[in-house]
């Protein structure tokens, strides 16, 4: 590490912000990919990968991704839930790589739920 100045301390703090958003909380968007056996069989793994790629592309520190178990609607897998701060969560069903990327652009980044793919709003949250 080169010698630091006072300004560098702040820069390092910014650089590590994503790590500490995960550990300390303070995220604004949470995306839950349902990865029960049924979800994985229906392709949830690809949905997860797509989400992670999209986040990496936009370089946002305040979006976190978690997994959760079977949501009970095995016929409509893969499912994912998007929770924006202070808004009811929206659950999407029958997802594909393209659909989730569209949801990411419109809902996560744009703030507008994509109604045509939405199954329900205001579902339960996970711990």
């Amino acid at each position: 590490m080169p010698r630091l100045t006072v300004a560098d301390l702040q820069k390092i703090k910014e650089k590590y912000k994503a790590d500490f958003t995960l550990r300390e909380g303070g995220y604004t968007v949470k995306i839950i990919v349902h990865m029960g056996t049924c979800g994985i069989a229906a392709g949830a793994r690809n949905i997860m990968t797509a989400v992670m790629e999209e986040i990496a592309k936009v370089n946002r520190n305040d979006i976190i991704v978690t997994t959760s178990g079977c949501a009970g609607l095995c016929a409509k897998e893969p499912l994912a839930t998007v929770e924006l701060a202070n808004q009811p969560p929206v659950r999407y069903s029958d997802l594909t790589d393209e659909k989730i990327r569209e949801i990411f652009r419109e809902h996560v980044l744009g703030g507008k739920p994509v109604e045509k793919y939405a199954l329900v709003t205001g579902c339960e949250t996970t711990y």
Binding site: R3, K13, K15, K17, D19, I64, T66, G69, Y127
Partner: protein, 620 residues
């Protein structure tokens, strides 16, 4: 793929490493790779999490799920359930002793819930071996503020106003100590850190040095600026290899980053820091002895005054602060003295870290605001006494401290209130004892330690502690004399008033405080040859109450000297000639049918016990 979606904060403190962190980490890595999760889930090794009894422990973020007692065998299931499928794995979660439901979130677990973290602010949240992670949590911001925007007088005033008192034991005001040293003119001064933690059962400082070494270094830089020192040492015992390793690493990183050495952060201030390894002598925790040890001489105290602030290391003005004290400096500088005073009491501000050990359910490191009742620490955080036994006393302050009995458990934990009981806050060792503890034996244990660790320079400590120890040994062996209690009290006071340093001045405290609250135990040892707790072998007779015995055979099987006879449905009996008084049967019996009587007891046990019980009631 760059995005990491989850961090597994695996504890790599000494306790958890001993319970298998390294193997668990390898298993986790292997399993995550198998499931293709290596890139999106990151394992971070942290310093001590504090919940040492159930290690290895791990916190999973962002869900904040807490796992304990991890094993290599459970890892595949854990990875599949939680990290792949998102179902937190109940089997490895915390459970309350009496209720069997699993508690997933760290913030809901009683052990963590009641704690307020200031000293341990980074515990389990950062990788102590990476300076960047420390900086990301506001690390070195206080150094930047102190070196660029504050004068030494302002730093001292802030620390003084905060009311921060030295956490090493004596509780002297840190700001005042700094002020004394700052006013002594000298071209060379020293800023020192005392990491010579020696109390049996105490491990607060080790944990801070392991989990957050930069917080200690940062406090030292600020202290050095305040008193005008350009050189410093961290004195740490060689028995703390992990702490030494992490401190060295932290010093190297900070030096490379220009946070130590010449011209820190381009402010023109120089501070060079080194580590000095102690050989583990208890007396070297005393400040003047510690300084002699750094000079390469035999670690022995010298009379004060002159105080180290005037003549310290190599006779130069020096300040010695404890690890925990130094770790609190940077938040005080950043947030101000009022913030610090928002917790604690008028005379005991802020928080204190305790090493909670002994007969409590949750053993570990706890940080609480000063002023909370002892009972909260032992029962809410500590989860009460193991195996549902009865509380007897809590020992505070190690060999310099004393025992606090049940009826004083509601006193607030402050320097003044604890001293009033005859114990001291000390460095924060808190050993909980249950009903099966002999208090004379406890005093003897601590005297064994201090008599052994006495450096030998002054007679009251060298000879006095040995005589105390011999008398206590005699009492526990049944050779106690009528006059012993008065002699113990007298001698203790003499040692306290005439010893040269803190070691001798406090060594008799365990004797005095057990005499104060448990004098009846000394008396029954001396007069009746009866150790009611059944610990002192020469002072017991074990006897089975046949009316209560269920003839289950448990004690019979457990007895190492085959001194118990009996069979199914026939109440058991102890053959006194074979009994070695080891108490194994007493601890084994589930029906509470074994009684402890005086040595060489003859007569009717029932009658005797009834009479003693009535006598005890009358006394009350």
């Amino acid at each position: 793929m760059e995005k990491v979606r989850s961090h597994l904060m695996l504890c790599a403190g000494t306790g958890c490493v001993a319970s298998g962190t390294t193997k668990v980490k390898a298993a986790l890595e292997e399993e995550l790779a198998k499931k293709g999760l290596s890139e999106e889930i990151k394992i971070v090794l942290t310093g001590c999490n504090g919940y040492c009894a159930e290690g290895p422990v791990m916190a999973v973020y962002p869900e904040e799920v807490f796992y304990q007692k991890l094993t290599v065998e459970e890892v595949p299931k854990l990875v599949e359930e939680h990290f792949l499928k998102g179902r937190p794995y109940q089997k490895l979660m915390f459970r309350e002793p009496e209720k069997k439901t699993a508690i997933p979130a760290m913030k809901d677990i009683p052990f963590f819930k009641h704690q307020v973290l200031r000293v341990l602010r980074n515990k389990g949240l950062i990788d102590p071996e990476k300076i960047e992670e420390y900086i990301a949590r506001d690390g070195y911001q206080a150094v930047a503020k102190a070196l660029t925007a504050m004068t030494p007088e302002e730093i001292i005033k802030t620390v003084k106003d905060s009311g921060l008192r030295g956490r090493g034991g004596a509780g002297f005001l840190t700001g005042l100590k700094w002020e004394f040293a700052s006013k002594v003119p000298s071209a060379v001064k020293f800023m020192l850190c005392n990491g010579d933690e020696g109390d049996p059962g105490a491990f607060m400082d080790r944990s801070v040095m392991e989990a957050d070494p930069h917080s200690v270094i940062e406090g030292m830089i600020i202290g050095a600026k305040a008193i005008g020192a350009n050189y410093g040492y961290i004195y740490v015992r060689a028995e703390y290899p992990l702490a030494v390793k992490r401190l060295r690493m932290a010093i190297d990183q900070a030096t490379e980053a220009g946070l130590l050495g010449k011209n820190i952060l381009d402010t023109g201030f120089d501070f060079e820091l080194d580590i000095y390894l102690g050989a583990g002598a208890f007396v070297c925790g005393e400040e003047t002895a510690l300084m002699r040890s750094i000079e390469g001489k035999r670690g022995m105290p010298r009379p004060r005054p002159p105080f180290p602030a005037v003549k310290g290391l190599w006779d130069k003005p020096s300040v010695l602060n404890n690890v925990e004290t130094l770790a609190q400096i940077s938040p005080i500088i950043l947030n101000g003295s009022e913030w610090y005073r928002s917790l604690g009491t008028e005379k005991s501000a802020g928080t204190k870290v305790f090493a909670l050990t002994g007969a409590v359910n949750n053993v570990g490191l706890v940080e609480v605001p000063m002023g909370i009742p002892l009972r909260t620490i032992i029962y809410d955080i500590g989860g009460g006494i193991k195996k549902g036994k009865k509380f007897k006393a809590v020992q505070l302050g190690g060999p310099s401290g004393g025992c606090i009995p049940e009826h004083l458990l509601d006193i607030p934990v402050t320097y003044e209130d604890i001293v009033a009981t005859g114990a001291i806050v000390g460095s924060g060792g808190m050993v909980v004892m249950d009903e099966g503890t002999c208090m004379v034996g406890t005093a003897k244990f601590f005297l064994e330690f201090t008599a052994d660790e006495s450096c030998g320079k002054c007679t009251p400590c060298r000879v006095g502690t040995k005589i105390l120890l011999d008398m206590l040994t005699d009492i526990t062996e049944g050779k106690g004399k009528e006059s012993d209690i008065a002699t113990l009290e007298d001698l203790s006071r003499d040692i306290i008033t005439t010893s040269l340093c803190g070691l001798g001045q406090t060594a008799p405290n365990p004797v005095l405080s057990t005499l104060r609250y448990f004098k009846h135990e000394y008396e029954s040892h001396i007069h009746q040859k009866w150790c009611k707790a059944g610990v002192c072998r020469n002072l017991t007779t074990f006897w089975i109450d046949e009316k209560l015995c269920k003839a289950c055979g448990a004690c019979l099987r457990a007895c190492p000297s085959k001194a118990i006879v009996g069979e199914k449905k026939v109440p058991h009996k102890i053959i006194q000639e074979l009994c070695v008084n080891c108490r194994t049967c007493f601890d084994t019996c589930k029906f509470n049918s074994i009684r402890i009587l005086p040595a060489g007891f003859e007569g009717d046990p029932n009658e005797f016990l009834a009479k003693t019980a009535a006598g005890a009631k009358e006394e009350k």
